[in-house]
Amino acid sequence: MIKKISLLIILFIMLILFIQMQFDLKGYLNYFSHEYFLSHTYKDTASSNIVTGIYLDYRLFDSIFEASILLIVVSGIVYMTTKEGEENERVFIFEKVKISNLLTILSRVLYPFMLMFGVYIIIHGHLSPGGGFQGGAILATAVLITYYIDPDKITKFSLIIFLEKLLFISILIISSLSLLTKNVLFTNFIPNQTSNTYRSIFLILLNLLIGIKVSLGLVSIFSSFLKEGRS
């Protein structure tokens, strides 16, 4: 009881100090990077969406590590949920779960639209809000809705994990192609003089690779969860 009361008092004092600091902060705001990004992004990176320009050109190094976090999490989960023993020794229990007909029919109708929406957000990442990570998540939900249509479909995934690592290596290779053309690493490899439509090929390519990689990762997490309890 004493712990809870003292905890509440301490947290309340910390909240008051935090709010006081917020009010003080308003006098010290610095808009240097704000103005820099607004004025230079379209010329430097050929993308109208500033956020895409930042994470695909100015800070590509960070995005590579963020993509690798997803890769490691997927490998870790796949390792943790596989049990020892041979694959064909186990008996799989597939119970007959009754999924309602309404859900199945609606999923069949919605599935192509969700796929198209996901691919739209990935490809138009440099022109409107969106991009690789967001579109990848939407694409993953589109693939996961097929679980309602046919429960046995998402259970083989050794090919998916292999593809994911291949995609990560190809992201690395495409990012470092700029060493040959511009003599710096991790930026756009098409030279600065060509028109913006050609320079955005780099952005579309990277967005596609990241999007497919993210969706494959999420689908393999889901199917390893499904497969774990079934032996």
Partner: protein, 182 residues
């Protein structure tokens, strides 16, 4: 516009307090999904549409799916039986003695019971590492007693042992899992 943003923030605080104080897992998952949706609205009102897209897709659609999947797997209780008489029969008018016992046990903990018969007896050593069973039922033909074999580290076994205290035809055996040393 500012009023809507402030209202959403107050609602977020209320939802997080109810997440902390609720006891049922399914309710917590629904609250988490609504928390994610409201914070995505807040991101959009603060002029950050990219973040709002990512938050909606992941926090409201994919994460509750994973949570519900793992909660439903936690609720299953899988029994593998090596006996082939009517100890575990599940028919309309007569249920076997073992089936009544297991039903009583799983109703107490609100689990779902799955029984399946394994004709050829699989190797028992280290089976809790290889497959996902929770309980194995065997029968000793000479003395006509039933053995219920489970993991020693599981706390559900204590309740099961308490339920079969009076019956000397049924014995609960706790097996220590084969742990690796280093």
């Amino acid at each position: 516009m500012v009023i809507i943003a402030n209202l959403i923030q107050v609602l977020l605080i209320a939802i997080s307090i109810s997440i902390v104080f609720s006891k049922d897992n399914t309710r917590v998952v629904v609250f988490l999904a609504s928390f994610s949706l409201l914070s995505a609205c807040l991101y959009f009102l603060n002029k950050a549409p990219d973040v709002a897209l990512a938050e909606v897709a992941i926090g409201s659609a994919i994460m509750p799916l994973f949570y519900i999947l793992s909660i439903s797997k936690q609720r299953e209780f899988i029994v593998m039986s090596h006996v082939d008489d009517d100890y575990l029969k599940n028919e309309k008018n007569q249920k076997g003695k073992g089936y009544l016992l297991l039903e009583n046990f799983t109703d107490y903990y609100k689990l779902k019971l799955y029984i399946f018969n394994d004709a050829e007896k699989a190797e028992l050593k280290g089976i809790f590492r290889k497959s996902n069973v929770d309980l194995i039922i065997e029968k000793d033909e000479s003395t006509n007693t039933y053995f219920l074999i489970g993991k020693q580290s599981s706390i559900l076994m204590n309740k099961l042992a308490q339920l079969v205290e009076n019956d000397d035809k049924t014995i609960v055996v706790k097996v220590k899992e084969s742990e690796t040393r280093d």
